[in-house]
Structure formats: structure tokens, C-alpha cells
Symmetry: C2
Subunit: 427 residues, 2 copies
């Protein structure tokens, strides 16, 4: 059956049936979403967890207000980075004791890349090139450029196309390459890279790999340890619903924990944090990747999102995500064919993350018109409308209604109004 035939048999009633039969349907009750809204930007900022507000109240009124400084011990603030880290690890196949939640993705990438390059400087000092996708999230590229500039000594960042990654680096994996930093899912197109085979290709080339899981953690099944990956970083505020700007994570393969220090070596990374010695001595294990004091409030709110995911079956999450994006793509092809719309996201399941990106020359204005109707996706240059599919709170009917709204906006040229052409600074 062709894709368009598959969807031609679908109507809204069929979508409602799919929602009724959805094994994850009860998870929607764990989120608070505004009325008359279809929220398809959970790949940028996840929705509000129902427990977030109460947890913040507890932390502020009880732990901070009453416990005061003692709560670093009595309320477990001290251990939040490892407590949350292990919860993230459970979702990405990281194993216990290998992950901390702390700082931002960008900063954690700096730590990971610095440590990896230091390991390579011992083992293979001639390797001074860092490869990363040209379409990696720009902040990752900028952090690597900042690191290479700081290191000097011919360290260099080289950008590669997605096709080169998918092909196993036939043209770029030279004996100069020390490190490859890869986003697991392309943030614009939604293309997913195979972690296991890509990691193997990188290791065969003598390089190390750091995966950025910002757009895959909580969206699909990941087996970090099983894939042989060296390190990983990611955020908790997208699919993991940790709250706006909630802290990020860093994962380091156990065998690498103590092989190098990282340069952001604040007191939280010290072997004896409260000895207050003027001599640095790195902690053993993953705590070495901590730096300074974390926000107990934002960490605790992020934990609510992780706890929600802890009750979800990631195989079911992935299956539903693919079913949602299949439906989205099918409906776009079947119902928007009169318009210059192109599906950017790969059709093959093994190359697809948890979003659908489509392009249209008037993408910005179309997204503006959609948002006016309460359907919230986002826009990325050039011409790309992004729709994040978060299986815990998005259903099949939501997808139907979204494509129907798109059809209506395109058929009636609703987008072609002055108010939809105004560009704001952030989308």
C-alpha cells in the first residue's frame, strides 16, 4: 500500500479510535496544557508536568524556607545531580553511576570534549581535529570552536554533511581526527543517526565520539552503553519536560571516568569537596564532571518530568512516535498535495526522530497563522515548519486536526496577511 493510500482510508474517527486504543493515553493526565491548544513544540520546550508546581512549592516553602542550609543534607539537594543523573540514564541506556544532571548542554559538551581531547593527547597526540555535523545544533559547533581556539596548537573543528555521517565518514575520517561530536537527531530535519554503527565507524577510525541527545532523550529508545559510545550530553527541557531551561546532563562511559580531568574543575568535582583544600584533587567517577552549585529548585522541578518518564515504556513511546509521524507525513502527502509543501523528515523509520519538518516558501507566515489557531509548532530558517511529536501528551486526533488546519490555511491563503509576516526575535 502506498503512503497516500494508507492515509486515504483514515478520517478523524479513525484517529479518535487510535487515541482510545493508545496504551500511553493516560499519560496526558500528567500534564497541564492550555485549553484549545495543540502543542507541537515539545521538542523545543516540553509541556508543564502536573506535579511541577507542587514540587516547587515544597522546595521553596519547606526545604528552603524551613530546612534552610540543612536541606543540602536533609532534603537530598547535595545528591540531586546523581539522583537525577541515574533517572536520565534509565531512559538512555546509560547504566547507574555514569550520569550527572548539571549546568547546560553547551557547558557539559565543553567538559566532555575537553576531557576526550585530553585522553587523545595522551594516546594519539597527532590527532587534533574535531568533526561535527554542519547541521549540528549551532551552540555545539560554537562550543567546539571556542574550545579549539582556547587549546590552540592546531586544534581544529571541521564541519561535515549529514550524508557523510550516515555513510560512516568515508571522506573525512583521517588519522588527524581525535573526536567526533554528533547530534543524535538533526534539530531541523528530524533525521536520526544510528548510534551503534556510527560509533563503530568512529572508533574504527581511531577517534572518540560524543553524542548530543537533546532531540532524542525521551523521544526514542537509546542504548548508550550498548552502542559503545564514549560520552553523551543532552538537555532535560525538551522531550523530558523538565521546565524552561532546566539543567542538562552529561554521561561518560564507565571505563573513561578516571582517565582525564575536565577543565571546569570546580569544588563539586573535588575528591573532598568540604575539606576546602587549596589543592585540586579530582573525585573518582562521574562526580568529576560537576563544577559549581546547582539550583535545587530547577533540579527538583526537572525531576518531576523524569519521574513521569520513569513510568513510561520507551518501546511504546517510540512505537507511538513513529505512528504519529507516519500519520502526519501521510496526511500531508494526501491532503496538501495541491501546495508547494515538501516533507523534509526522512521516511525511513530508522532515520527518523520524533518530529516532522515540512518546508513551504511561506513557512514563517503559515506557522504564524497556525499559532493563531492554537496549534503551536515552530519555524526554522529556511522555510521549515517543525512539528514535535511527544507521545506522552500528543494524540492521533491532534495530528489530524493540525494537518486539517494547515490545509485550510493553505487553501484559503490565510497566511497571506500582514500580521503573519512580522518576524519576532525568537520562534
Amino acid at each position: 500500500m502506498m503512503i497516500s493510500e494508507r492515509s486515504a482510508t483514515l478520517d478523524r474517527t479513525a484517529c479518535e479510535r487510535l487515541d482510545r486504543d493508545d496504551p500511553l493515553r493516560s499519560f496526558k493526565d500528567e500534564f497541564v496544557l492550555p485549553p484549545n491548544t495543540i502543542y507541537l513544540d515539545g521538542n523545543s520546550l516540553g509541556a508543564q508536568t502536573k506535579g511541577a508546581a507542587n514540587r516547587a512549592q515544597e522546595v521553596i516553602a519547606d526545604e528552603w524556607g524551613t530546612g534552610l542550609i540543612r536541606s543540602w543534607n536533609t532534603a537530598g539537594w547535595f545528591d540531586l545531580p546523581t539522583t537525577l543523573g541515574d533517572k536520565v540514564a534509565g531512559l538512555v541506556g546509560g547504566g547507574a553511576g555514569n550520569t550527572v544532571v548539571t549546568d547546560t548542554t553547551s557547558i557539559n559538551l565543553f567538559k566532555a570534549a575537553s576531557a576526550a581531547l585530553k585522553m587523545q593527547a595522551t594516546d594519539a597526540p597527532e590527532r587534533r581535529v574535531i568533526l561535527t555535523q554542519r547541521e549540528n545544533f549551532p551552540s555545539d559547533i560554537y562550543m567546539l570552536q571556542g574550545l579549539a581556539e582556547q587549546l590552540g596548537d592546531d586544534y581544529e573543528v571541521r564541519l561535515v554533511d549529514d550524508a557523510e555521517v550516515t555513510a560512516g565518514f568515508p571522506n573525512t575520517m583521517t588519522a588527524e581526527v581525535a573526536l567526533v561530536v554528533l547530534t543524535h537527531v538533526n534539530y531541523r530535519t528530524g533525521r536520526l543517526f544510528d548510534m551503534s554503527s556510527t560509533t563503530s565507524a568512529i572508533h574504527a577510525g581511531g577517534a572518540m565520539v560524543i553524542w548530543d541527545l537533546c532531540h532524542s532523550a525521551g523521544a526514542l529508545e537509546i542504548d548508550l552503553a550498548g552502542s559503545g559510545a564514549d560520552m553523551a550530553v543532552g538537555c532535560t527541557y525538551k522531550f523530558l519536560n523538565g521546565g524552561p531551561g532546566s539543567p542538562a546532563f552529561i554521561w561518560v562511559a564507565e571505563a573513561l571516568h578516571n582517565r582525564a580531568t575536565q577543565p571546569l574543575s570546580g569544588w563539586w568535582s573535588h575528591a573532598k569537596q568540604f575539606d576546602m583544600s587549596p589543592e585540586y584533587a579530582p573525585a573518582e567517577g562521574i562526580r568529576r564532571y560537576l563544577t559549581g552549585t546547582h539550583s535545587a529548585i530547577s533540579m527538583s522541578v526537572a525531576e518531576v518530568g523524569l519521574n513521569t518518564f520513569g513510568r513510561a515504556d520507551m518501546a511504546q513511546v517510540r512505537a507511538k512516535s513513529l505512528a504519529l509521524s507516519d500519520l502526519f507525513i501521510d496526511l500531508v502527502e494526501a491532503r496538501l498535495s495541491a501546495h508547494p509543501v515538501e516533507v523534509i523528515t526522512p521516511r525511513e523509520h530508522e532515520h527518523r526522530g520524533s518530529q516532522v519538518s515540512i518546508s513551504h516558501p511561506e513557512g514563517f507566515a503559515i506557522m504564524s497563522a497556525l499559532i493563531e489557531r492554537g496549534i503551536i509548532g515552530d519555524y526554522r530558517e529556511p522555510s521549515i515548519l517543525r512539528f514535535g511529536l511527544t507521545p506522552l501528551y500528543i494524540g492521533f486526533t491532534d495530528v489530524w486536526d493540525t494537518v486539517e488546519a494547515l490545509r485550510d490555511i493553505l487553501d484559503n491563503r490565510t497566511w497571506d496577511a500582514p500580521e503573519h509576516k512580522l518576524r519576532s526575535a525568537v520562534t
Copy 2:
């Protein structure tokens, strides 16, 4: 009049009168403190602001829950680093547009020191030594050691005694010194260093200076711009009452903003953050010192603390702080003289921060006994009991009651019980 004579005339009634006449007395109503508690650890974690819980609710339920991704624009999340930065600047003489609130003190120090060394590498490449106090907060020292190791090329951190700093670096300010990193107040002893004369001495030696204001911002009057300082960092969770682990700040003198980039060059530091270009281009001005995405929740709660301070007269804060610590020292000398107690904090106002530190061989057990009575200070090795004096919510009667409790514990050897000798990991 001798110190001991001054206090000998004081009794609890006199302290009550001082509290009644205190021009800052109404500020205590802006904090929520647990009953039967005297909280003298606000120099480690400030008390709960009354508005914090409500503000967190608004951010979570309204801004995150209803506004969702749009709140980056509509709720001002995007500008929180500069909005809060300017509020901090108002308290430390920083001028508008020179400060951002972001990340942790340790990470901000890494950015500042990296940029300063880069400026010096252009102007005076032979200067490769960083001086810092041996008794600077250890995390600062570790960050500088991490940076020096990362840079290699003979970069080196040298530790100097407080007396050397106070004397203007007669023995250590050589032509090799690129940068001096100084805590404004010694976290253990409470010694205050003169910002203006010390900065002048450092500049006369050809070096740059970064001040760590963790133990002085919100505790005393500071004139960063007027002192000629180059850069400063500090936290918001101590005297500024931003909440547990709330984000830190970084200040850069306006003339230096665009002289160098810093290596943690994430997308928030980019000239055109949302162009998503793979080429890094630094923003002009203080935004260059941002890195990744901040927590809107912890930033917004921190803002409540800053707003409270925005209504306080810092000259009154400083005057009351000194009156409180004068009283504390006087009472210790007058009433604890039968015991081996030593006041560590300098007597001279110009060398005193906003805490009183006293030593006793059984300091740890004594602090444990005090905390059991609801009087919360903290303990620092070796043998030091620290009492933070936060003028917005601590009064003269609190000081009286604290010294009386100390006298009782010492006279009756209450501290000499097994439960007070157990060491916990964090104090």
C-alpha cells in the same frame, strides 16, 4: 571606651531598643523564617523571600504552562540574564549593561579569567601567572588551576597570603603576573579587602583583576566601576537571597566588553543567536559572556531577592551590618572570656565583611549544640564557627540571644555530648 566596656553597658533591653530604632526593621517581613530560629547562615544560603513561592507558581503555571514556548518572548525569559544583571549591577556599582546573571560563579570565573588572559596574551604575552589568595574560596582556585592546565604553555596559578594582598603584593607582583583573582571577603575569617587600592596596586603592576563578590554583594557598598576593576563574578544565593543554588553573575568593565571572546561561546553569546549559522560570531557587549539556556524558574525566583534589595539603602545595610558585628564581637569578648574563644574576624571596620568568625578547639561540637537550639550558623575547618549577619532579617536581639546561648553551652559544656561530635558531610 574599650570594646568590653562598650558592651558591658548593653543588655537585652538595649538590644530590643536598637531593633525598634532600626530603619531596616520592616524588611524582616519580606522573608519567611521558621519559628524559634535565629538564622545566621545567610552568608551561605540566604533566607526564603516571601514572594518566592508565588513567583515560582506564576512562572510554572502561567508562563510555562499557558505561555509555553512563547514565554521566551512574551514573559521576558529571553532577557532575564540582562534584566537581573542590571539589578545586581545596581547593588555593586556596576552600571547598566555590564552584567549578566547566568551559570555558576565557578563557570563565570572561567569565562572571565579566560578572556582576561586572552587580552593579556595580546598586550603582554610574557605574563602567564595568575595570583589568587590561598584562602580564596577553593572552587575559584580549582577553576584557575583547571584553566591553567588547559592552556598549558607555562600558565601557572600562584597562591598568596591575605597579608600579601593587603600590603599591595610587595613580594609577588612580578612582570610575569597577568591576572589576579581575589575574593572580596575571605569566606572563613570575614576579612574584607579594599577594592579600590588593591585594584590600583594590581594595575600598577601591569596585571588585571577579577573580584569574587560572593561574600560581599548585598552585604556592603561596592563600587565596581568606580574602583577601576576589570571584571567581577559572584553568586545570588547568599546575601542576595536568590534561592538554593540560584544563578550567578558576571560583570565586565565596559571598556573590555569587546576586547576578547570567552571560550564557553554557546549560542546565547552569538551576535545573531537565531540565525543558526555554523560560524561563530560574538555578540557585542556583555551578552558575549552568556553560554547556554538558563532556567526561567530559578532566575525568576532569584529576581525576587534582587527586587527586595532594590528597595534597601546599601549605606544603611552596611551601617547595620557593622553595628551587628561590633555587638557580636563585643559580647563575645565580654561574656565568653572564661573560654578559649578567639575572634578571627578583623576588628577594623574597613577590613570586615558581614560575618563574625570565632574559633574554639571544639568548634564543631559547639555549632552542633547551637543548631540544636535553633541558632543556625556553620562550621569551617579548622575550629571555626561562622555567623553570617544579614541586616535585612537579623536584629540586635538575635545577636544577644546567640552569644547568650554560646555562653550557656560553653559554661555548661553542653557541646561535650556524643551527638554533637558526629560529622556530617556538609555543614
